[in-house]
């Protein structure tokens, strides 16, 4: 058995539950301990109010011995942690519904219900993102926006951690969410199974009618996206920076999207295949700029956009 305690509150007792499924507990520990650098003794020195991390305690000496664990270990959350750490934290929070309250829990303990799980998930999402000014970085092969545009407008965007496991570990999620779902970071489980699933413009009721840069752009703007440097207010957080490309045909005609990640590279998800951060040359060729990476037949770069909280997507 494994006890999980979420280090989140300041005044009231932190939520805690026990994973009683031995197989589940061992699977999580195996995953966690693939990289012991994910673990620490406690919260980061500069950790503030809100979600700081999760304390993980084996409740049997056998479990502690098998995984060479001390009495308790700590998994930090926050903008500085890796996507893997966040993925494991998300998984642990997801197991709350199948866990049991520890015996002798205080009377004022927060109930381990769907509301708490949603709160912790939202906290994890919030602390894993960073907000930063969207400025054009070092020159790339493509021309930068005009100087007057850069000087006049600086928008604040959010960058989420690269979390491929969220999209890839469950076959149902992987198969039924496409590049548009991934770029928007809005899982809908609708691709291939629901009309308009993952299709730009379907959310607003005016899907694209031709797969060209102008028409898919029109459709995405209809869903609520903005062109880059057309800022969204803070109320539309998270505001992700995404890029649209098109395979113009003749013959092979399709669109594809990328999303800028916190780690500095771009993630993407080709259709029902796995989310990844490398281009068409394969692992080892991380996408640092969707304008210049290997995009296979998607030869037309249409532009950069911002997604927003209120974006409509099927």
């Amino acid at each position: 058995m494994l006890r999980i305690t979420v280090d989140v509150f300041s005044g009231r007792p932190d939520p805690s539950w026990i994973i009683t499924d031995e197989a589940e507990a061992r699977a999580i520990l195996r995953d966690l301990l693939k990289d012991r650098q994910l673990l620490s003794d406690g919260a980061a020195p500069d950790a503030s109010l809100g979600l700081r991390g999760l304390r993980i305690e084996p409740l049997s000496d056998e479990l502690a011995f098998d995984f060479d664990l001390s009495a308790a270990t700590y998994l930090r959350t926050g903008p500085q942690v890796s996507g893997r750490a966040r993925e494991i934290a998300e998984r642990l929070i997801g197991l709350m519904g199948r866990g049991e309250a520890p015996p002798g829990a205080p009377e004022d303990a927060v109930p381990l219900d769907a509301g708490l799980q949603a709160f912790l998930t939202e906290q994890l999402e919030r602390v894993s993102r960073t907000s930063r000014a969207d400025v054009v970085e070092a020159p790339t092969a493509a021309p930068a926006p005009p100087a007057e545009e850069r000087a006049a407008v600086t928008c604040t965007i959010e960058l989420g951690a690269f979390n491929p496991g969220f999209w890839n570990n469950d076959p149902n999620v992987m198969q039924h969410n496409n590049c548009y779902h991934y770029a928007s970071n809005k899982r809908r489980d609708s691709f291939r199974v629901k009309p308009g699933g993952g299709q730009p413009g379907a959310g607003c009721g005016h899907m694209y009618t031709a797969i060209t840069c102008p028409d898919v752009t029109r459709a995405a703007l209809c869903d609520g996206l903005h062109h880059r440097f057309d800022c969204f207010p803070d109320g539309e957080k998270p505001r992700y920076l995404v890029a649209l490309v098109v395979a113009p045909g003749p013959g092979f005609n399709d669109f594809h999207w990328y999303r800028k990640q916190k780690e500095g590279f771009w993630g993407h998800k080709p259709g029902s295949t796995a989310a990844r951060n490398y281009d068409n040359r394969g692992p080892g060729h991380v996408v640092m700029d969707p304008q210049t990476c290997d995009r296979g037949p998607y030869t037309q770069f249409c532009g950069f956009f911002y997604t927003c909280r209120s974006q409509r997507i099927v």
Binding site: N178, C179, F191, D254, G282, R295
Partner: protein, 118 residues
């Protein structure tokens, strides 16, 4: 339930699909059973942007799906196990793609034919 072929082609758009006739289904299962083992140093199925391969579902005999891609055939059973076989000369892939003639949009079939011709 007929055997269905999904042409794993796109990223944004849904992939095109077609069904095999009863005769073609029997032909596919016969060809599948006759595939040679895959050499140990063979690569994997295609991944990435562009045409990736053909995904076969609706099979009988405890198979969940079969993926035919660039000379490699992955046979997934219902228990989660995967067996790999070779598709010399991409013959099975070519045969399957042509079985979609008349059902697939011409542009999609041409995209697959172009890849097979490389």
């Amino acid at each position: 339930m007929p055997i269905e072929i999904e042409v794993d082609l796109y990223s944004g758009r849904p992939n095109p699909r077609f069904a095999l006739s009863a005769a073609a289904s029997a032909g596919f299962e016969r060809r599948l059973g006759a595939l040679p083992p895959l050499p140990a140093d063979a690569g994997g199925i295609r991944d990435g942007l562009g045409y990736r391969g053909l995904r076969v579902t609706g099979l009988s005999g405890g198979f969940a799906k079969v993926v035919v891609s660039a000379g490699v055939v992955e046979i997934h059973d219902a228990a989660g196990g995967v067996t790999r076989r070779a598709d010399p000369g991409r013959a099975l892939e070519r045969w399957l793609a042509e079985a979609g003639s008349g059902q697939l949009p011409a542009a999609d079939l041409d995209a697959v034919r172009d890849d097979l011709a490389r």
